[in-house]
């Protein structure tokens, strides 16, 4: 079963003050801890960034990298902007980690370190969470 995380909602619930930006370590830590409490270990999770403004490296590290490293089996990012991925990708590379990124057209791609990236889409297909489309791309079978 896929777990769904709406990052903007978690941000609103985790931090005092109405913020749309995921910046600073304390904010990232608070958001990650909220997510961790609701997330079974070794799960496949979709993390939706819709509504999130600025994402800095500190939060990319605290939330995305630490969840991939310590909690989830496969993390799929949805609703990310170019700027979000600009923050996430170097952090993943620094840790030797990778995540799946869902484009607006629904096709799945991997970002991050090459070695773990190769296995991620295969894992989603093997779990029957994703499948090849007639065009040869890979997309989720159920969002």
């Amino acid at each position: 079963m896929i777990q769904h995380i709406k990052v903007h909602e978690v941000l609103q619930q985790s931090v005092a003050g109405f913020y749309a930006d995921l910046v600073t370590r304390p904010t990232g830590r608070a958001v990650r801890e909220s997510i961790e409490r609701a997330l079974p270990e070794g799960t496949i999770a979709v993390m939706d960034f819709t509504g999130v403004g600025c994402l800095d490296y500190s939060c990319a590290d605290e939330i995305v990298a630490k969840l991939v490293r310590e909690k989830v089996r496969v993390l799929l990012l949805r609703g990310t902007s170019d700027a979000h991925r600009d923050a996430i990708e170097p952090v993943l590379l620094g840790h030797g980690l990778a995540v799946v990124w869902e484009r607006p057209d629904g096709t799945l791609h991997v970002i991050g370190a090459r070695e773990p990236a190769a296995a991620l889409l295969d894992e989603l297909v093997a779990q029957q969470v994703a499948a090849r489309t007639p065009g040869g791309a890979i997309a989720l079978t159920a969002a």
Partner: protein, 302 residues
């Protein structure tokens, strides 16, 4: 007795070492300091936040009285410093002498972010939120940056401010301005200046890095470790990404980053600039001072 620290007439990162030398000399004794800015004709954001850092450090010295500050003689300059938010912060640090206009910090196009204190994560949130509202049009229309670059700009600003919260052990200030840089570039630039009077990079990194550098350890080595090698005082492998991210963002837009801390200054120098990559043996100045410059894209040569 009062010791005089002269504020340079053109007060920016280039003249900062002259100011730091005057500060170091005057602060060596226990006397009260007088920062004399009456002849100041212009100050960059770097000069303004650097002056606040000096004021804080001066007042914090053992037995140090709150320092004095004489405001610029030029009404136009005083007005600009007021609109840039300088005096709002200076009032807590200095005994200010001279007439200061009761002006609210500006919302004019040049002052993207008036001098703003940074003490905690909440301050960084406020800064990032403000800058996204104010900077987008300037970055896109005046500097020719891709509109998407605004988010990267906010990210770089966030990381620069977080260095204060995470490492300085004291509060600091940030200011962001856009202006025409005729002298150097003949084009417009956006400048982010961040300064604190905290412990500085060497002290912050010493427990984890000093042994690795051996005899070479000092302010210059600490700056090199932080900016070039991306090391952090924290063992967590995800740390040290912030300055690397700033470097990447500035490299994409041909920008410049320079950090002064203690007795050293390091810079990633773009081709339009002739700054020195690393200077050591400068006059000691407390804390860290960070300068980020993003030039208008592609319209002029160095």
């Amino acid at each position: 007795m009062t010791r005089l620290v002269e504020v340079p007439g053109q007060f920016d990162d280039r003249s900062f070492d002259q100011f730091a030398a005057a500060y170091a000399q005057a602060a060596a004794g226990g006397e009260r300091l007088l920062f004399d800015a009456h002849a100041a004709e212009w100050a960059s954001p770097y000069g303004l936040v650097g002056l606040l850092a000096a004021g804080e450090a001066a007042g914090r010295r053992e037995g140090g009285e709150r320092p004095l500050l004489t405001v610029p003689a030029s009404a136009e300059v005083v007005s600009y410093w007021a609109r840039a938010g300088f005096f709002r912060e200076a009032a807590d640090l200095f005994e200010v002498h001279g007439k200061v206009p009761k002006t609210k910090p500006a919302t004019e196009s040049e002052v993207l972010l008036p001098v703003t204190p940074v003490r905690a994560a909440e301050d960084v949130h406020a800064v990032v939120s403000t800058i996204q509202q104010r900077a987008s049009a300037i970055l896109a229309k005046e500097l020719g940056l891709d509109p998407k670059a605004t988010m990267g700009f906010a990210m770089a600003l966030s990381e620069a401010c977080q260095n204060i919260v995470e490492h300085a052990g004291a509060g600091g200030w940030v200011a962001v301005q856009a202006y025409s840089w005729r002298r150097k570039l003949a084009r417009r630039v956006v400048v982010i200046a961040v300064a604190d009077a905290g412990v500085g990079f060497r002290h912050s990194l010493e427990p984890s890095q000093a042994k690795r550098f051996g005899d070479r350890w000092g302010d210059a080595a600490a700056l090199e470790a932080a900016l070039i090698q991306g090391t952090s005082r924290f063992r967590d492998p995800g740390r040290g990404q912030g300055l690397a991210g700033i470097r990447r963002y500035l490299a994409r837009w041909e920008g410049k980053v320079a950090i002064r801390s203690g007795t050293a200054r390091i810079a990633i120098v773009p081709r339009w600039d002739d700054d020195v990559p690393l200077r050591d043996g400068l006059a000691a100045f407390p804390g860290s001072q960070v300068l980020l410059i993003i030039p208008e894209q592609g319209s002029a040569q160095a």
